[in-house]
């Protein structure tokens, strides 16, 4: 069984059909890229996967459970984690607290009230900050970070929930070339325990880290396959040439 399976997912906003029967399958520990021209429905599909939007039609199955009508907290508790397209770190909190907030999300309220997991999570928080090269800023407010660092903090927060599936919407948006390269490096090790669905405009970045790609065009799946297959696909070349 695949980890995530979305079938026939449609989303209609008024008269606009943003998604028209899109499908996506992600295996365990697979990095899956979602590409396509602007307005092809990539972000809408991500939102339907994460629960930010409910699809008009279709079904999303995650670890053998139909999660189509799950709320975002329910999906998060099932093991999905989303990094928003717009950075949404909590600016007045320290980096440390941002991570701890994400990490403790599934603790019971009683445990939270008595801070029962604070000591236990300390090392994990520092490890993840270290992994994302943010440890020396741990006790600064998140607002003081550069844009690229905020993106990393977001990814770190999304990972701090210990997801089985990480959904990244444009993680390298607004990053320098060097920062993009580092982001790729930061993402590699998570493959040991987590699958990834990533929406990204930077095709070189996608090609470097992904195992498989799905190409969307006008809300429909145009092609899906390994990176090599997609690169060789004539119709994919055409839509990218057409818009270029």
């Amino acid at each position: 069984m695949p980890l995530l399976e979305a079938a026939g997912v449609s989303k209609v906003f008024g008269k606009l059909t943003a998604l028209d029967g899109a499908a996506l399958t992600v295996e365990e520990r697979e990095f899956h890229g979602l590409i396509g021209p602007n307005g092809s429905g990539k972000s809408t599909l991500m939102k339907c996967l994460a629960g930010a939007l409910l699809p008009t039609q279709g079904k999303v199955t995650f670890i053998n459970t139909d999660v189509t009508s799950f709320t975002p907290p329910e999906r998060a508790r099932a093991g999905m984690s989303l990094k928003f397209q717009i950075t949404a770190v909590l600016p007045t909190l320290t980096l440390y607290d941002n991570i701890l907030l994400a990490m403790q999300a599934r603790s019971s309220l009683l445990d939270l009230a008595f801070s029962r997991s604070r000591g236990r999570l300390h090392e994990e928080v520092m490890t993840i900050l270290l992994q994302f090269r943010l440890a020396d800023r741990a006790f600064d407010a998140a607002a003081t970070l550069s844009h690229g660092q905020q993106q990393w903090l977001e990814i770190a927060m999304a990972l701090a929930c210990r997801p089985r599936l990480l959904l990244l919407d444009e993680p390298t948006g607004g990053m320098s070339l060097e920062e993009r390269r580092v982001t790729g490096e930061l993402l590699q090790p998570i493959k040991q325990h987590c699958s990834l669905v990533i929406v990204e405009h930077d095709l070189d970045f996608i090609r470097d880290i992904c195992d498989r790609l799905t190409v969307l065009d006008q809300g429909k799946v145009l092609a899906s396959g390994t990176v090599a297959e997609i690169q060789a696909n004539r119709s994919v070349q055409e839509i990218y040439l057409r818009r270029a």
């Binding site: 994460a50 629960g51 930010a52 709320t71 975002p72 907290p73 998060a76 508790r77 984690s81 989303l82 928003f84 949404a88 909590l90 600016p91 007045t92 909190l93 320290t94 440390y96 607290d97 701890l100 907030l101 994400a102 403790q104 999300a105 599934r106 603790s107 309220l109 445990d111 939270l112 009230a113 008595f114 801070s115 029962r116 997991s117 604070r118 300390h122 090392e123 928080v125 520092m126 490890t127 900050l129 270290l130 992994q131 090269r133 440890a135 020396d136 741990a138 006790f139 600064d140 407010a141 927060m157 929930c161 490096e185 930061l186 590699q188 090790p189």
Partner: protein, 358 residues
């Protein structure tokens, strides 16, 4: 640095990363300001009845009760970001509840009426939260504030129209609260009782807000939608803090009823609700001590001004409030406390940081 290298760092690096002596000292330095402030206020409040004339002690008791009420509003607005404009609903309902207990059932024992008032506030807030906060979709700030305000307004009107509740005049001459056979009337004993309850609830709130639950509340206030995607049940969090704050408002309302000796519809209404908003904005929302300072200063000023400048004091008070809100939107407390101290920090406690420091 290779990518696998970054992942499997040995533990010593982790501890090293926590070392930031400059930051740690700045942090503990600011932390002291708050603690000194809290202790100074506690000492001042403890000796006040000894040095002040009795009629001022009576007034100060009322201010302390209002401080407790302000604390309850600060919890929902300053910490959880829920703009409750109907906080007086819980205050007044508890007040009316205990007044009826004393009038119609002869129940005046402090061990019965205070828990009863607290429970009334808690249950009323929980019911209102059920309507306003527990939908599938998060409710907007405007919806919640208008909803709570409508509740307070409706309760005010109902009380005015009800013969049983005494109509416009409310319930006068409530029998006094008792401890054993001792009757509590206004004065130093009542003052110290209220002070003890205020300190206890302050400490409990402080404990809760500094816990990981407090961090969840901070997340709720900053970005409700974001933390839902971490897996927080935000609606439940909101309902719980709302109910806890209702309980505290209920405690305050029952104390108020027995201290004043009567309850009247204004206790339930919008005037009381907005008054508590002003206290907290003036002192500084999102800090417990700010709510206390705000209440004490606003009430202290009105006491002094109404005596000295009988005719124009509301204007002076209004101008002062406006000045604070214009130039110190974070309240007077922001003159003393830095941003980090105000927002709080939930990471490793001071002990752990000191151990991590070289």
């Amino acid at each position: 640095m290779s990518s696998t290298g970054t992942r499997t760092q040995p533990p010593p690096r982790v501890i090293q990363a926590a070392r930031s002596p400059i930051m740690a000292s700045a942090f503990t330095g600011r932390k002291k300001v708050l603690l000194i402030l809290e202790l100074a206020l506690l000492i001042a409040a403890s000796i006040a009845p000894i040095v002040l004339p009795d009629y001022i002690t009576v007034y100060a008791t009322r201010v302390l009760i209002l401080c407790l009420f302000a604390l309850s509003f600060d919890l929902v607005w300053g910490y959880a970001g829920i703009l409750s404009l109907g906080q007086s609903l819980f205050f007044g309902m508890a007040g009316y509840g205990v007044a009826l207990l004393a009038r119609d059932f002869g129940v005046g024992s402090i061990f019965a009426v205070l828990p009863a008032g607290t429970l009334i506030g808690f249950v009323a807030a929980l019911l209102l939260a059920g309507f306003l906060l527990l939908g599938r979709h998060p409710s907007s700030v405007v919806f919640v504030s208008l909803g709570t305000m409508t509740g307070a307004y409706a309760a005010d009107r109902l009380a005015r129209g009800s013969h049983y509740l005494g109509g416009q005049n409310g319930i006068p001459s409530i029998p006094p609260m008792t401890i054993g056979s001792h009757e509590l009337s206004e004065g130093p004993v009542f003052y110290y009782l209220v002070l003890a309850i205020l300190v206890l609830i302050y400490l409990l709130s402080r404990f809760l807000l500094r816990s990981q639950f407090g961090l969840a509340l901070a997340g709720l206030r900053e970005n409700e939608q974001r933390i839902a995607f971490f897996g927080y049940k935000v609606q439940h969090l909101k309902a719980i803090i709302f109910a806890v704050s209702g309980a505290i408002a209920g405690t305050a309302g029952s104390l108020y009823a027995f201290h004043e000796g009567f309850v009247w519809p204004n206790m339930l209404g919008v005037v009381m609700s907005t008054q508590v908003v002003l206290y907290v904005l003036f002192g500084g929302s999102g800090t417990l001590i700010g709510a206390i300072i705000g209440t004490a200063i606003v009430e202290g000023l009105s006491f002094w001004l109404s005596d000295t400048y009988r005719d124009i004091w509301p204007v002076i008070l209004g101008a002062l409030l406006l000045l604070v809100i214009l130039f110190r939107p974070l309240g007077l407390i922001s003159l003393l406390l830095g941003e980090r101290e105000r927002v709080g920090s939930f990471g490793p406690n001071r002990e752990e940081k000191r151990n991590a420091a070289p």
